[in-house]
């Protein structure tokens, strides 16, 4: 996994609440057996008209947000299906940070496995960042994971906090399967005990 350090980019506003993973990547694009190449399908039902042409009203089709790496989003972002195709599509599209008042649990976990940083902040703070993001080309923000700080376009700083273990893995681009395999002895011991006490498992 790619290391996550600091991202400086324009931030795109998407205030819609309950953006579900069906919206992020519709089912017709789940037929792949690869993790890559899904960026062109991110938000596809919103991004394109039925004839395949671009919907110019959709925020990520507008300048300067086409190249945004930061998304300011509404409450309960990523609800619904567990599909990891959602973070695959978002990162392949170019996003690295999503800031919202809350995230659905499964999506939140999936982000960390893919170098995508979900940041939860109080509604008022997100509202403020949403306003900032509305300022187009001036909506440049910096997200520093090491310091756990967001610097807004006016230089104002917002702190956030990320689970230390997840932060560590993200900063170092670590594969957590490798880390868990170091505990193989403990897993074996657990299995032996369970086999003795619950032989039906």
């Amino acid at each position: 996994m790619e290391k996550f350090t600091t991202i400086r980019s324009v931030a795109a506003p998407m205030p819609t609440i309950n953006v579900d993973t069906d919206m992020i990547i519709p089912q017709q694009h789940l037929k792949t057996i690869k993790r890559t190449g899904l960026g062109k399908f991110a938000f596809s039902n919103l991004r394109y008209h039925a004839d395949g042409s671009e919907n110019e009203d959709f925020v990520l089709n507008k300048e300067p947000y086409r190249t945004a790496q930061i998304l300011i989003a509404g409450d309960n972002f990523g609800c619904g299906s567990s599909r990891e195709h959602a973070p695959w599509a978002l990162t392949d599209f170019g996003l690295r940070v999503i800031i919202a008042p809350s995230f659905a649990d499964i999506f939140f976990g999936n982000c960390f496995k893919n170098g995508l940083l979900p940041i939860t902040l109080p509604q008022e703070t997100v509202d403020k960042l949403m306003d900032d993001a509305g300022r187009g080309a001036n909506a440049i923000m910096t997200v520093d994971l090491e310091k756990q700080e967001i610097t807004g376009p006016d230089g104002g700083v917002v702190s956030f906090s990320i689970d230390p273990f997840r932060r560590h893995c993200l900063l170092n681009g670590l594969d957590d399967i490798g880390l868990t395999l170091e505990k193989a002895d403990k897993i074996s011991k657990f299995e032996e005990t369970q086999k003795a006490t619950q032989p039906w498992l």
Partner: protein, 476 residues
């Protein structure tokens, strides 16, 4: 480990008994007893194993069954129209062969939707941790198991280590007391709960459903209820195991047998929330207050009693909610104030892991009997598994349904998420027994109204969203 002397919830007990290791930062390594896979969320995990040269730690703890992509037409033995679907199906089979996973092929009598097959095979057991790369894994919580959906990276993690790195969730209790009214089902309870707490109401929590109305539900009903825990934002929902649970499991192919079964039941009986255990959040509902439910919008929380009218965004104070409602009404093509029972439908889908078990098909057949699907309506009944289908046919339900003009299909996810050929056309309106009414869920532009199987069958015969209760009275 938490102090085992203080009263604990069912969730606490299952969690505590699966901790392999606890890190100082609060993250735990949790052992996973059961892992179910399907064709859509597993290929990249197998690919990851191959790329890193890792093996499956415990293939015997897995089963695999294709469901999302499979055609539901009777000619499916000979063709899968979409070559990409075909590749996913073939990839699952090849991966299971290569890694030694128990695989149920599409044409096997046991094939069906993962969350219907697991319990049916006795693979789902009380007190276990169960995962699948699918959010509706919460279904299995009906057996007093801790069951939840995971992403593909976690699928790979479980494959390689039989564990997951997790933080303990909070405890939430949803208590439904009293007796359900005539014509009101588990689906209506599930929708009413989401209406009450919202789609993020359970975020960060595991829900335990308690109360006399829950105890009164069959295993099928409890599965319907737990299935939709994820729609309330909770990763898992659970109902403590009882005699109904044990009776359901006895004799199932993968359930314990003989002495071991007795031993297992003795253990399962201990898996109850202790008197005085702490819940971080509690919600109380009265069964009598629940009428048949229907969704009007594009989130499962956009739900009302069938006797109600389409809401008006102008009545909403919260700006985000108002905007969401305006957007939903536009997408759904509905006017505020329209009585729900005046909304015409063109499609009916009775199926999905929420409502495609035998009890659901029976409910639909009761309404269909002696009636006809309305002109211009296309109605699909897709049993949740080959075994459900066979039982329904043994009971003659397929005859009742087809005589009424319903289409009787082969098992699979079908029009629940429209990955196969069964999908809505843009603007087509569907009465559906599935679990998600998201924009485009049943096909781009399609409009979904969630409801119970009996309500969906009623909509099929009238051509409108319909209160099923008077029809059931007529039926006697």
């Amino acid at each position: 480990m938490s102090d085992t002397a203080s009263p604990r919830t069912l969730y606490d007990k299952i969690w505590d008994s699966h901790v392999v290791d606890q890190q100082d930062d609060g993250n735990c390594l949790i052992y996973i007893d059961r892992h179910i896979i399907h064709e859509v969320t597993s290929p990249q995990a197998f690919e990851g194993l191959r790329m890193t040269g890792r093996k499956l730690r415990r293939p015997s703890a897995m089963i695999a069954v294709p469901d999302h992509n499979v055609p539901t037409t009777s000619d499916r033995a000979t063709r899968v129209d979409d070559p990409q679907s075909q590749i996913q199906l073939e990839t699952l089979e090849a991966n299971c062969k290569e890694f030694g996973v128990d695989y149920i092929p599409m044409l096997d009598a046991r094939q069906g939707i993962v969350h219907i097959v697991g319990p049916e095979q006795g693979f789902t057991l009380p007190g276990t941790t169960i995962v699948c790369g699918d959010s509706h894994t919460s279904t299995h919580g009906a057996f007093g198991a801790l069951a939840f959906g995971i992403g593909t990276s976690e699928v790979e993690h479980v494959m390689a280590t039989q564990t997951l790195i997790l933080r303990r969730s909070k405890n939430m209790r949803v208590d439904v007391s009293g007796e359900l009214g005539f014509g009101v089902t588990a689906k209506d309870i599930a929708l009413a709960i989401i209406g009450a707490i919202g789609t993020a109401g359970g975020t960060g929590h595991v829900i335990e459903y308690t109360g006399s109305a829950i105890r009164g539900l069959s295993m099928e009903g409890r599965m319907t209820l737990c299935n939709m825990a994820i729609e309330a934002g909770a990763r898992a929902g659970m109902v403590a195991a009882d005699e109904k649970t044990f009776a359901y499991l006895q004799g199932r192919p993968k359930a314990p047998k003989g002495n071991t079964y007795e031993q297992a039941v003795a253990h399962w009986k201990t898996l109850q929330t202790d008197e005085g255990a702490h819940f971080d959040k509690e919600v109380f509902l009265k069964a009598e207050d629940i009428a048949p439910q229907v969704t009007w919008g594009t989130s499962p929380q956009d739900v009302l009693a069938v006797t109600d009218v389409v809401p008006n965004p102008e009545d909403m104070d919260d700006g985000n909610r108002k905007a969401a409602t305006e957007r939903a009404l536009k997408y759904m093509g509905l006017e505020a104030g329209t009585p729900l029972v005046e909304i015409p439908i063109q499609k009916v889908f009775i199926g999905s892991c929420t409502n495609a078990r035998i009890e659901d098909i029976r409910e639909a057949a009761v309404i269909a009997k002696g009636r006809q699907v309305a002109d211009g309506v296309e109605a699909l009944v897709v049993p949740g598994s080959g075994l459900v289908k066979a039982q329904a046919e043994e009971e003659g339900l397929d005859k009742i349904l087809t005589a009424a003009g319903f289409d009787w299909r082969e098992p699979g996810c079908s029009m629940c998420l429209a990955m196969n050929a069964d999908k809505l056309q843009p603007q087509e309106r569907c009465a559906s027994t599935s679990n998600r009414n998201f924009e485009g869920r049943q096909g781009p532009g399609g409009r979904t109204h969630l409801m119970s199987p009996a309500m969906a069958a009623a909509a099929a015969v009238t051509g409108y969203i319909t209160d099923v209760r008077p029809m059931m009275k007529e039926q006697g």
